[in-house]
């Protein structure tokens, strides 16, 4: 018993101060990409060719990037002969709509809080059922880590529960393989209404690197209605937490 108490003292208090203080991110952290349209050469398509998921698009000389497909792999940055693309340290990425994930010259529309009625229900207590549907265990791990003392998700009233019957919504990861479609549908149906759906990671949002495979569904949006999109491969835990807190109106 004494040993356990001694260890407790040694391990210390480890919960981050986010959202009251900005998060500490790795020095090389790859956040929301940005490009210098002035440097981009008219008919060059090097970045589009290099992108593994077709996230980049160019029309009338202007580049648009679909963050829902982006793996944050820097292949475009490395391919760009003009050095026009860079990845910023911007970790806030979650949106309420799929369209808002397409980055062009408009301001980025971060997720807004749930409508008043739903917010009243879930704002102080949100129970989520996680469904991994073809996820590679990276999005799952970085969702699970929110339960550790480092992030202490419980302090925001958010908890992952063991049954859809106990849940207010689903947090889905993975491209949803055909083999997992029915199970996802059944889990959604088993969750009592009103309910919300959060998609975490490029796979769940668009199919990610598996987009177009006949074995998968290109994400969950064609199967269930979605309330929050969190892009990334995988998103940093802070990006997921930031998205959830925005949805609940805890960050604006």
């Amino acid at each position: 018993m004494l040993r356990i108490l001694r260890a407790r003292l040694k391990q210390g208090y480890r919960t981050i101060r986010f959202p009251d203080e900005p998060p500490v991110l790795p020095e090389k952290y790859l956040g929301r990409p940005q490009w210098d349209a002035g440097k981009c050469q008219g008919d060059c398509t090097a970045c589009i060719q290099a992108c593994p998921t077709g996230a980049l698009n160019k029309s009338k000389g202007a580049v648009a990037l679909d963050l829902g497909r982006c793996l944050f792999c820097t292949d475009c940055m490395d391919a760009c002969p003009a050095g026009a693309i860079r990845f910023t340290a911007e970790y806030r990425l979650a949106t309420r709509t799929r369209e808002a994930l397409v980055v062009d010259n408009r301001p980025y529309a971060l997720a807004k809080a749930l409508d008043e009625k739903t917010h009243k229900l879930f704002g102080r207590s949100l129970k989520l059922r996680q469904v991994s549907a073809g996820g590679c265990n990276a999005c799952e791990a970085d969702t699970n880590v929110l339960n550790t003392v480092g992030f202490d998700l419980g302090r925001f009233g958010i908890q992952f529960v063991a049954s859809p019957r106990h849940a207010d919504g689903l947090l889905i990861t993975g491209p949803v393989p055909k083999n997992m479609e029915l199970a996802l549908q059944k889990t959604y149906d088993a969750t009592p209404s009103p309910k919300i759906v959060v998609l975490v990671g490029a796979c769940a949002v668009s199919g990610g690197v598996f987009e177009g495979h006949p074995e998968v569904n290109n994400g969950a949006a064609s199967i269930v209605p979605v309330d929050l999109f969190v892009p990334g491969c995988p998103p940093h835990p802070i990006t997921i937490l930031d998205g959830l807190l925005r949805l609940l109106g805890r960050i604006e």
């Binding site: 040993r3 991994s132 590679c136 799952e140 550790t148 598996f210």
Partner: protein, 504 residues
């Protein structure tokens, strides 16, 4: 006497140099080699005209060499499984992918639940108008008045990947557990054919996301073998550091989760956080906690500066100190040890016969570690001795992880103390044509095996991935025999296998 070509780990050779044997010769040769201590690292089919070519990769651990042989089959061949149980899952895979029947296989069922890759040929003669539903199949059943069946999954209680588990129980005791997977099947091997292309390396990083470095390293070794170059010593050292960091993160997380499964909350709580600290050290190298974008054919994509390496070491030491403190609590707490000891035992003989790999094998006394048996890259010059225990229970699988954590820490310290200089990334020449290459990596779960066969243009004609989980899922089923069903979470965590790495 047939002489097989011998290659080292991470070598390519012309496909024509791999002897094609008659079915009977192939069979007797594999049986004879396995009797003499070879292991089957891979056994798979690929199309060859209107036939299927079956290629075997035999690991000769004591000699540090790999042997290859092949045969061609039409639609059936006499199964190897009755004499060589370690290929039972491989033969089920061959049946499912190519519609080939390994005759005499004692339990021939699909493993991923997809249609055969050869239109019109199905090993089970299923009606092709009927959809193939995942895990809808016959299961081993125990009959009796007091027998009941428990079915769990695909959607589990925690934040875990999907799979289906069926327990045959007598009261609380599990007589038999059968595991069926396939929910995570994303068609990765099929999508790799014709590559490499802009997606290839990203498939490797996401086929089992917690083993990003392990699989990306195996893939990079394959491409480098086919292009006949070796990455620079600095790149090899950095890859090894990243691989050991991946092991540290996962082993630490597993020890924490094992504590959680026996209700010992202190270590459970510290383990989860400390796992994250190791992931953050990986992010120091490349910006991503799982090591995405780090390993690339030709080397690595990020070169840490001297201050970054110093920072890495400081954080490594600090994290290790906290891990030691957290993990020591486990061994000192009788209520934890009494739950770990004697639970989920797999005998040495069963582990060897089933071809288990990684910590699960070493915990049962099977001395097997690619890093020391078939070393690649920097492991050829920096030995990392393997750790084996004898009891094969949850306690042994926990201890092995703890010993490996200590060895990995030492290894990273040594590596960073004498980090070679030079460039970290070089251009890889185009792949050799009509070649076969094999690369093995000791991932944190055990042996990762990748095999590539190129076509006449040097493109990928076939790519076979074997995650350690492919070998080990049946080990978990075996560990549950005679256990209480309430021990399942603990046993499961002590193996901690990958669903997506298996389902591909």
């Amino acid at each position: 006497m047939i002489i097989l070509p011998q290659i080292h780990n991470g070598q390519a050779l012309p496909l024509k140099d791999v002897p094609e044997l008659a079915v009977a010769d192939f069979r007797s040769l594999v049986l004879e080699r396995v009797r003499r201590g070879r292991r089957i690292s891979s056994l798979f089919g690929m199309p060859d005209g209107d036939q299927i070519m079956i290629l075997a990769v035999l690991a000769h651990d004591s000699q540090g060499r790999l042997e290859l042989c092949r045969m061609r089959v039409h639609d059936r061949y006499p199964a190897l499984t009755p004499e060589v149980p370690q290929v039972h899952w491989f033969e089920r895979e061959i049946a499912e992918q190519w519609g080939i029947v390994p005759e005499g296989h004692p339990w021939l069922k699909p493993i991923r639940f997809h249609a055969s890759y050869v239109p019109g040929r199905d090993a089970w003669g299923r009606d092709k108008a009927m959809p193939i539903e995942p895990c809808v199949t016959n299961y081993f059943r125990v009959e009796g008045e007091e027998i009941h069946e428990v079915a769990v999954g695909p959607v589990h209680a925690g934040i875990i990947e999907p799979g289906h588990f069926r327990f045959q129980c007598h009261g609380e005791n599990v007589l038999h557990l059968e595991i069926e997977l396939g929910y995570q099947h994303r068609g990765i091997e099929r999508a790799l054919i014709g590559g490499p292309n802009s997606r290839s390396v990203h498939y490797m990083e996401t086929l089992a996301g917690d083993t990003t470095i392990g699989h990306a390293t195996a893939y990079a070794s394959i491409v480098e073998a086919l292009g006949d170059i070796a990455p620079s010593p600095r790149a090899q050292a950095l890859r090894a550091i990243a691989l050991e960091l991946e092991r540290l993160a996962n082993h630490t997380g597993d020890l924490g989760a094992l504590a959680g499964d026996v209700g010992f909350l202190p270590t459970a709580s510290y383990g989860g956080r400390l796992r994250g600290d190791f992931l953050n050290i990986t992010a120091l190298l490349c910006g991503n906690r799982f090591g995405r974008n780090f390993v690339h054919p030709g080397g690595v994509r990020f070169d840490p500066t001297a201050p970054t390496v110093d920072n890495l070491l400081i954080r490594l030491d600090k994290t290790f100190e906290a891990v030691q403190n957290a993990v020591d609590l486990l061994w000192e707490t009788p209520s934890v040890m009494s739950r770990f000891e004697g639970t989920g035992t797999v005998s040495r003989q069963d582990a060897a016969r089933l071809g288990l790999v990684g910590p699960a094998a070493r915990a049962a006394g099977v001395d097997l570690d690619v890093r020391s048996d078939l070393p690649w890259g920097i492991y050829q010059s920096h030995e990392l001795p393997s750790v084996t225990l004898q009891t094969g229970d949850v306690a042994a699988r926990a201890y092995v992880r703890w010993f490996e954590i200590q060895k990995s820490i030492e290894f990273i310290r040594d590596m960073t103390a004498a980090l070679p200089g030079g460039p970290v990334l070089q251009e890889v020449p185009p792949s050799a044509q009509d070649h076969v290459a094999v690369a093995l990596v000791e991932g944190w779960r055990g042996e990762i095996c990748h095999v590539a066969v190129t076509n006449e243009h040097g493109r990928l004609r076939h790519y076979k991935i074997t995650d350690p989980s492919f070998h080990n899922w049946f080990g978990l089923a075996l560990a549950l025999r005679g256990q209480q069903i309430s021990d399942f979470p603990l046993c499961n965590k002590s193996f901690n296998l990958s669903y997506c790495g298996h389902d591909l």
